[in-house]
Point group: C2
Chain length 66, copies 2
């Protein structure tokens, strides 16, 4: 299975914010995500990196983007 853990960069650290994520959709300034059980979360962020082999999706705050 390919579900991933989603992290949010905070002060240079990767803080895990959701497990078993199977779906991600950027929506304007936000990221919509949902997990295997259908639970949903929306965070104000943008995608920084998707590392599929590590099952890792890293988000960052929009204001942190250079």
């Amino acid at each position: 299975m390919c579900e991933s853990r989603v992290y949010l960069m905070e002060n240079g650290s990767e803080v895990p914010i959701m497990e078993n994520v199977i779906y991600i959709e950027p929506q304007d300034d936000k990221i919509f995500m949902s997990d295997l059980l259908g639970e949903q979360k929306i965070v104000e962020a943008k995608i920084k990196e998707v590392r599929l082999l590590e099952h890792k999706i890293i988000l960052e705050n929009r204001k942190d983007k250079k």
Copy 2:
């Protein structure tokens, strides 16, 4: 393994543009991606959806975004 196929939306159709992608990184107005063999591609686009169970990452042209 979790490598995915990357598609670009063109006139409402999903056109496959790269196979076995393991890494994606948005860079300004572009998307950088690389595959299992280390091959790299950069396209002018943004991420529309990431569907991990389907091994599918869908990009769209930035100008198509409403």
